[in-house]
C-alpha cells in the first residue's frame, strides 16, 4: 500500500487544536475520518479523505472513545504521515505528528525528570530525531508509536541519565540473522498490533501496573518489588505471565 500522496493540514485554534488533514492520495480508496480526543482540554485531529463521509457520520457520534476500526485508521494515518516526512521532508505531516506525539513524549519525560522545562527540551530533541530519522522508519517493523517510544527512551538514557545503551549492530557480521526475514508482512504487523493492544487491555491490573512502572517510571523489576512491597519472585512471575499472555495473543493472530 502506498500512501505517497500529499497531505494538507488546516489548523484552527479552538480550545486546543483542531486539525483537518486531507489525505489526497490515489492509493487510499477507503474514506478515513479519525477523531481522537486525548483529554477534555486536549487536541482533536480529524482525517478526512475526499469523497466518503459514510464512516465519518458514524464516527462523529462517538468522539470520545475510538473504536477498534478507528484506532486502526489512526495508526495507518500516522504511518502515512511519517513515511511522507521521510520521503519528502513534509513539514505539514510532521506538524500533525508533533501535535499528537509531542504531549505524550512530554508526559513520558516528565515522569522521570519532574521538571517541565527539561521535559519540554527532551521532547523537542526526540521530535528532532524523529524528523531526522524519518527516512529510516519501516512500517514492516512496527508502529509509529513504538518507533517514537524507542527514540524517546534512548534519548532519556543518553541525555537525561547520561548513560550509554549498548545495542546490537544490524550490520555486524557476527549477528545471527533472523530465520525468515519475510515472515512479517505489513498486514500481519498491523493485525498483531491490534491483537497486542486488545490483549493489553485484558491484562490483570496487577500486571498492567508493573508494566506502567517499568516503562514510564523506568523502574527495574527489583525496584518495582520494593515500590510495591512485593517479593521479587512475585514481580518476576507477573512479568512472565503478562508477556506470556501477550505472546499467546499474537500467536493466535499468526
Amino acid at each position: 500500500m502506498d500512501y505517497g500522496g500529499r497531505v494538507r493540514l488546516d489548523c484552527q485554534n479552538r480550545s486546543g487544536m483542531f486539525g483537518v488533514i486531507q489525505l489526497a492520495t490515489a492509493h487510499v480508496s477507503a474514506a478515513m475520518r479519525v477523531d481522537f480526543v486525548q483529554t477534555a482540554a486536549a487536541s482533536q485531529v480529524s482525517i478526512v479523505t475526499p469523497g466518503g463521509l459514510s464512516r465519518a457520520g458514524r464516527l462523529s457520534r462517538e468522539r470520545v472513545h475510538m473504536d477498534e476500526e478507528t484506532e486502526q485508521d489512526t495508526r495507518d494515518a500516522m504511518t502515512a504521515l511519517l513515511l511522507s516526512v521521510g520521503r519528502t521532508q513534509d513539514v505539514t505531516a510532521f506538524e500533525t505528528l508533533f501535535r499528537v506525539f509531542g504531549p505524550r513524549i512530554r508526559s513520558y519525560m516528565l515522569r522521570l525528570t519532574r521538571d517541565g522545562g527539561l521535559a519540554e527540551e527532551l521532547m523537542q530533541e526526540t521530535m528532532m530525531t524523529v524528523w531526522r530519522k524519518a527516512g529510516q522508519f519501516s512500517a514492516e517493523k512496527g508502529s509509529v508509536a513504538t518507533w517514537i517510544f524507542t527514540i524517546a527512551r534512548n534519548l532519556r538514557i543518553d541525555s537525561y541519565r547520561r548513560s550509554r545503551r549498548p545495542e546490537i549492530d544490524p550490520n555486524d557480521p557476527a549477528l545471527v540473522p533472523d530465520g525468515d526475514p519475510q515472515a512479517d508482512s505489513v498486514m500481519e504487523t498491523r493485525q498483531s498490533e491490534e491483537s497486542l493492544r486488545a490483549a493489553m487491555t485484558r491484562l490483570p491490573t496487577e500486571q498492567r501496573e508493573i508494566l506502567m512502572l517499568a516503562f514510564f517510571d523506568e523502574l527495574p523489576h527489583s525496584q518495582i518489588a520494593v515500590t510495591l512491597d512485593l517479593p521479587l519472585g512475585t514481580v518476576k512471575s507477573r512479568i512472565r505471565l503478562a508477556f506470556g499472555k501477550l505472546r499467546e495473543a499474537l500467536e493466535e493472530t499468526a
Binding site: A40, S107, R164, D178
Partner: protein, 226 residues
C-alpha cells in the same frame, strides 16, 4: 547453533524500558546479537511500550501550549534545512570471510576480536580481560577458562550474568555453549566446569565491587593464592 538458555522476561523488560545499567546491558545486547528469538521477544516488549505510550494521555498542565512548542520546533526545522532525511539505511558492512567470535556491542567495548586481545594471565591456562564501561556499579570482563578446567563450587551475592562466546561449560542447571546466557543470583549454588575440547570464553558481568564469592574471584583464587 541452538541456544538453550535465554534472557529472562524480567531482565529483558529492564533492557526494553531502558532501566538496565550499561554493564548488564552489554551482556543482554550481545546475547541479542546471537539470538533471533530473544530479539523477537524484545520487539514484543517494545511494542507493548509503544502501545502504552500511545494510550497515555497528556495532562493539560504538562508544559507550554503545544502551539508554542510547535513554533519552536518549526523555527528549528527552518533553521537547519539540511537536517532531515538521513539515508534510509546504512550500507551493509563488508562481510568478512570469517564471522568474528565477539558480536557487537561487545567487540567495540573490548576493541577487537578474541585473537587481538591482550589477555591477562591468571596462571595455569586461565585468562581474563577487564572491560572498561561508564557504569561503576558493575564489573564486566571476559574470561578464558582452560578446556576441562573446573571452577570451585560457589554461590553469589548479587547478580551475575554469563554469556558463553566460545567453547562450553556445564553445571547443575545444564550445558552452556555459544550464545547461552546464564542469569545467576544468590539462590544458585553451582559448580561450573569448562567442557573438554576447547577453551571456554565467556563474558561475565557482576555487581561491583567484586564479591569475594563470585565466580570470577573464585576462579582466580587457586591461581592467585588469595
Amino acid at each position: 547453533m541452538t541456544i538453550r538458555h535465554h534472557v529472562s522476561d524480567a531482565l529483558l523488560l529492564d533492557y526494553a524500558t531502558g532501566s538496565l545499567g550499561e554493564g548488564w546491558s552489554i551482556a543482554v545486547a550481545s546475547h541479542l546479537a546471537l539470538c533471533p528469538s530473544c530479539r523477537k521477544r524484545l520487539t514484543l516488549m517494545e511494542s507493548a511500550g509503544g502501545a502504552l505510550f500511545s494510550v497515555t494521555h497528556a495532562a493539560p498542565s504538562d508544559g507550554p501550549a503545544i502551539d508554542d512548542s510547535w513554533a519552536r520546533m518549526r523555527a528549528r526545522l527552518l533553521d537547519k534545512p539540511d537536517a532531515g532525511n538521513l539515508p534510509s539505511a546504512p550500507s551493509p558492512a563488508m562481510k568478512s570471510p570469517v564471522a568474528p567470535t565477539l558480536p557487537e556491542p561487545l567487540r567495540s567495548y573490548v576493541g577487537g576480536d578474541v585473537d587481538t586481545l591482550q589477555w591477562r594471565s591468571l596462571g595455569r591456562g586461565a585468562y581474563h580481560l577487564p572491560i572498561a564501561t561508564g557504569d561503576k556499579s558493575t564489573s564486566v570482563r571476559l574470561l578464558r577458562i582452560p578446556a576441562g578446567g573446573p571452577v570451585p563450587e560457589h554461590g553469589h551475592r548479587g547478580r551475575e550474568l554469563t554469556l558463553v562466546l566460545a567453547g562450553s561449560f556445564h553445571d547443575e542447571t545444564g550445558v552452556f555453549a555459544r550464545g547461552d546466557f546464564e542469569e545467576a543470583d544468590e539462590d544458585l549454588e553451582h559448580q561450573p566446569v569448562a567442557m573438554p575440547g576447547a577453551d571456554c570464553i565467556c563474558l561475565a558481568v557482576t555487581d561491583a565491587p567484586l564479591r569475594f564469592r563470585s565466580w570470577v574471584v573464585r576462579l582466580a583464587q587457586p591461581f592467585l593464592g588469595i
